[in-house]
């Protein structure tokens, strides 16, 4: 395992490095926890459904379940799809894994990446083999339940040339708990491949969440990301970085609904590095109660003919909450098209009243408008993925008002 040592060394040096954005966290209070391996998933089915995960595994290409630091289940059910835990992948592939290990995300990014390398356990390794277009999603689920727990899995998704895979990850707590979740996800979309990655989060009010995600999309590849959180939490910060090579496309969506005293700072960085690459960052943010939310979106145009668009919309449902939106467009080439639109506000009273004139109650009218606000039209995804997203969005719309 000598090849891994250099990452350990880099991590040790970065273990105190504060994050670029968001609230800093004292990481020393959190440690990985072991649990009984024999959790019956059916006993927590309704908790999982809260994050769009169904224990009924029909219509799934594969599954991965992790509770705290323990891998409960991982299996592939279709040809051309490999699923294992990170530890198994390291054992199986050794140094061959290195091109996919701390490459799309750098190990010394900050204390959270360092911590994941030094203390993290588990994480899924998902690989779609060359040419296999898998039309049902892999379902992954990361659960926490113990106080002062650290969960820092390291996930790696590889879509080989011409393949397609979708991964839907639900992360949640089984009960009110304090903890730090710092999941690393590295995604490699090879030539002409397509990956859709959906992450659904729901936490409790004392949780700190620091996902670190990096994505590299090779020539002609496509990456579709949808981050959905409707949650209480203490602090959240995340800024996935997506690099697109020639003719690659990305669609980076996030829907965040914050409750309680939650503080969140999140967004995407999109680098259009290859000629004619194109991408969009689309965010929908809703704040309730006393929550504070910052949405960042940055697109950098580095090559000929690239196109990028940012669409950030914020909705305040409480006047004690706050939304800060920071779109950045950075052109380093004269032949690029980068645009953005952003709007922040509360529900429009004239629209509510017009809907009331159509016969809806005020509550109905508001929920119709919230539903509309939350709707983002994703590029077409496998139907099973779309239906998981739709279910979650319905749950959100219902829980909001």
């Amino acid at each position: 395992m000598s090849w891994r040592n250099k990452y350990r060394e880099l991590a040790k040096e970065a273990i105190s490095k504060p994050p670029q954005y968001g609230v800093d966290v004292d990481i020393t209070q959190f440690t990985p926890k072991e649990v009984d391996k024999n959790l019956d998933l059916h006993s927590v089915a309704d908790i999982l459904e809260n994050v769009g995960v169904s224990v009924d595994s029909t219509n799934r290409a594969g599954e991965y379940y992790q509770l705290e630091s323990i891998v409960l289940e991982r299996l592939s059910k279709v040809p051309g799809l490999e699923i294992m835990s990170l530890e198994e992948a390291i054992d199986t592939y050794g140094k061959d894994l290195e091109p996919y290990f701390w490459n799309a995300v750098k190990v010394d990014t900050d204390k959270f990446t360092a911590l994941a390398e030094l203390a993290g356990k588990g994480g899924y390794f998902v690989r779609a083999k060359k040419g296999h277009r898998i039309q049902v999603p892999v379902q992954a689920c990361l659960l926490m339940q113990l106080n002062q727990s650290l969960q820092a899995p390291h996930n790696i998704i590889i879509a080989e040339e011409g393949s397609e895979v979708s991964v839907v990850t639900g992360c949640t707590v089984m009960r009110e708990t304090t903890g730090l979740h710092a999941g690393i996800t590295e995604i490699y979309v090879k030539k002409g491949a397509r990956v859709s990655f959906v992450m659904i989060h729901r936490w409790s009010e004392a949780m700190h969440i620091r996902p670190r995600t990096g994505v590299i999309v090779e020539e002609g590849g496509e990456y579709i990301s949808n981050y959905i959180a409707f949650t209480k939490l203490k602090t959240f910060q995340s800024m996935p970085r997506v690099i697109l090579h020639e003719n690659a496309r990305a669609y980076l969506a996030s829907t965040i609904v914050l409750e309680g005293q939650a503080k969140s700072d999140s967004g995407y960085t999109l680098e259009l590095a290859g000629n004619n690459a194109s991408g969009q960052i689309i965010s929908r943010a809703i704040t309730k109660d006393f929550s504070e939310l910052t949405t960042r979106a940055k697109i950098t145009g580095l090559a000929l003919g690239v196109r990028g668009h940012i669409d950030c919309q914020g909705l305040l449902l409480s006047d004690k909450s706050r939304i800060l939106t920071i779109p950045i467009l950075d052109a380093l080439h004269d032949n690029v098209t980068l645009t953005h639109e952003a709007a922040v506000g509360k529900l429009a009273e004239d629209k509510i009243l017009w809907l009331m004139a159509r016969g809806f109650s005020r509550e109905n009218a508001e929920s119709i408008l919230v539903r509309g606000f939350l709707r983002v039209d994703l590029p077409s995804l496998p139907p099973a993925v779309t239906s998981m997203i739709d279910n979650t969005m319905r749950l959100i719309a219902k829980s909001i008002l």
Partner: protein
């Protein structure tokens, strides 16, 4: 029998009197027109009848049949069957027209067949999968507003300029939809308009003219609309005094 009765209504918005002592009524089965120059207070009157909270009633009464609804909030008036088709309907991003149409129809017990028929009459099928009113043309918006209002199966509607910016063919389409509304249970309509075209198709009986926040004339719809077209609004006061507008 009166479906709607407005008596000496005073309305203020933004601290300003916008309807100043208006009385008018609509009888059962009647289509009544309301003319008046820009800013005279027509929309304000419509919103006050609907119960829009931005238009505060500071005097007078509104009756629906013989029920005094002056103090009723918008929800209650709409649930009785009073509504308004807006002059300017909002864009609803993220809400597909067909979804909204179905939701309104279901809520008011209007059948899928009727919905389909109205879509046909109003020629809006190309809009159903789009977000409501987003990027719709002026005329399309008007037709959609009529569609959604009809799907409520209302008993009384104030139509606020349903024909403004609408071509002649579409005016015919809208008048057909309003006829359909009567079939579905509409008992009376007040139509705010600047032209007589819609009036002709709908065989409107009577018309009022509003000037400076008051009703200044009442009379036969065709004659009034004719005079306004020929001589302008001010003239109709003189014509009234000269006895042109005696109703039969």
């Amino acid at each position: 029998m009166k479906v709607l009765g407005v008596e000496n209504l005073k309305v203020s918005t933004d601290g300003k009197i916008v309807v100043n002592g208006v009385s008018l009524h609509v009888n059962s089965g009647e289509t009544v027109l309301l003319f008046g120059p820009n800013g005279s207070g027509k929309t304000s009157l419509a919103m006050a009848i609907l119960g829009h909270p931005n238009y505060r009633i500071i005097g007078g009464r509104i009756y629906f049949y013989d029920r005094d609804v002056t103090e009723f909030p918008i929800e209650k008036r709409v649930s009785l069957g009073i509504t308004a088709a807006f002059q300017f309907s909002p864009e609803l991003k993220g809400i597909k027209l067909m979804e909204l149409a179905r939701e309104i129809a279901e809520k008011h017990g209007v059948s899928e067949d009727t919905l389909k028929e109205l879509i046909e009459i109003l020629q809006v099928s190309h809009l159903l999968n789009r977000h409501t009113n987003v990027g719709f043309s002026g005329g399309e918006r008007k037709r959609v507003e009529i569609l959604l209002t009809t799907l409520q199966a209302p008993k009384f509607v104030v139509f606020d300029e349903p024909d403004s910016g609408v071509d002649r063919d579409s005016i015919l389409i809208i008048s057909k939809a309003i006829e359909k509304m009567f079939e579905l249970g509409l008992k009376g309509a007040l139509i705010i308009t600047h032209t007589g075209f819609l009036a002709k198709h709908l065989k409107a009986n009577r018309a009022y003219v509003m000037l400076d926040h008051r009703i200044v004339c009442e009379g036969p719809a065709e004659i009034i609309s004719d005079h306004i077209a020929k001589y302008g609004f001010d003239m109709c006061i003189l014509k009234r005094q000269a006895g042109y507008y005696e109703l039969a």
